[in-house]
Chain length 231, copies 2
């Protein structure tokens, strides 16, 4: 995967056709609109989006690098099954890195940083209704990104975004239960509290508890959707 911590996407401003196809396909795979195992072809996708095969090809290659597609030469390109091993590895890497960064955040946080986190929490609480799921998701990510920034390691979150990809595919398989949003925001609150209190140990423990919640949900979803997975 193929992503270096810093110089990845931000400085990349390549063709608009490529980005259109790439974004559309990525969303389609992530949301489950195209299901694991399903075959797609450069020609068909090109025709559908009204572009030639070349930008489609590049989009395919990038998505294959991210683990979303599997390109078999002379045969076809298929949506990759979600690999349980990859999900487990993502969890391990995420927990390891985020527990360390949140410690640093707790050690380094200044007043402005705490205020910024508080603002994010307020915004998060405002979009807890089920019909604003995508906004909720975006603010979830933003909170974790902000913690990495405060820790002085924004690139770590950039890396995690790539690493998390397989994990996010699982998350999209199922809408969450009733109290889910409240639980997430509450756990974020605990983390922010510990960061504001400059308590690295507490912050790490709160982050670990939070991630365990997320991972447990992922495992549950994986069990009930085993046909999408590959051992």
């Amino acid at each position: 995967m193929t992503d270096t911590p810093t110089s990845s996407a931000p400085t990349d401003i390549r063709g608009p056709r490529l980005h259109g196809v790439y974004d559309a396909l990525r969303a389609a795979v992530l949301s489950g609109e195209i299901r694991p195992g399903e075959g797609i072809s450069e020609t068909r996708v090109a025709a559908r989006y009204g572009v030639s095969r070349t930008p489609v090809r590049e989009a395919f290659r990038r998505l294959a690098d991210e683990g979303f597609l599997r390109i078999v030469p002379q045969v076809g390109t298929f949506v990759a099954p979600i690999q349980l091993a990859a999900v487990s590895d993502s969890q391990f890497i995420r927990e390891t890195l985020e527990c360390r960064t949140v410690r640093l955040a707790a050690e380094r946080a200044e007043a402005g940083d705490v205020a910024s986190l508080a603002r994010l929490l307020d915004s998060h609480r405002a979009v807890m209704s089920p019909d604003r799921h995508s906004e909720f998701f975006a603010l979830d990510e933003a909170t974790h990104a902000e913690l990495a920034r405060i820790a002085g390691r924004p690139a770590v979150w950039d890396l995690l975004v790539a690493v998390k990809a397989q994990l996010d595919r699982v998350r999209f398989l199922s809408l969450h239960s009733e109290g889910w949003a409240a639980k997430i925001v509450g756990e974020h609150q605990s983390i922010v509290d510990r960061v504001a209190a400059r308590d690295p140990d507490g912050a790490e423990e709160a982050m670990r508890a939070h991630l365990r919640t997320v991972f447990a949900a992922v495992d549950e979803i994986a069990r009930t959707n085993s046909h999408f997975f590959e051992t």
Copy 2:
């Protein structure tokens, strides 16, 4: 041409033309044969390797994703300067993940694992002479990979291989001093000893000390070759 420290693409079995160009360019950038800031063009590279622009283009895109090239649309493609921030982030990520995996390795190691590590150390000692630098480098990597495997997280090393890329560029800038090889092997020995003793704390500490040695060398090289870098 020197060795590429990392075997590149994990699960990719695409055309031989693409791989030839990709491997050659990667090695050329890593070894400093093509220097940061230097411009290369799809057309010229295609002509030089006797292929068309298409496989060159894919190789460029992949190398750009890895942080080796910078593609500026309608202008040109250039060897990316080594970004000090990226090097620092690589170090942080590597230390965080490897200290955790070596703990796990120490907890999980079985007799066969320890024997395997011992074999690697013996091989390593056998190639300490300066003229076998590339073999030494390869065994260094193999030892770290083996520790990740013993920890039950081989994928973590796969990730680190990608993350380390910018760090390896720095390493290639300079041959190491006289006692370097002995020092590295000695530190590896300490790590393996602690793993063999099922001492997670000691193993983590030994790994941390080892990485600090490596990072110090990187910093030293970075200081004395600042013209290759970008702040």
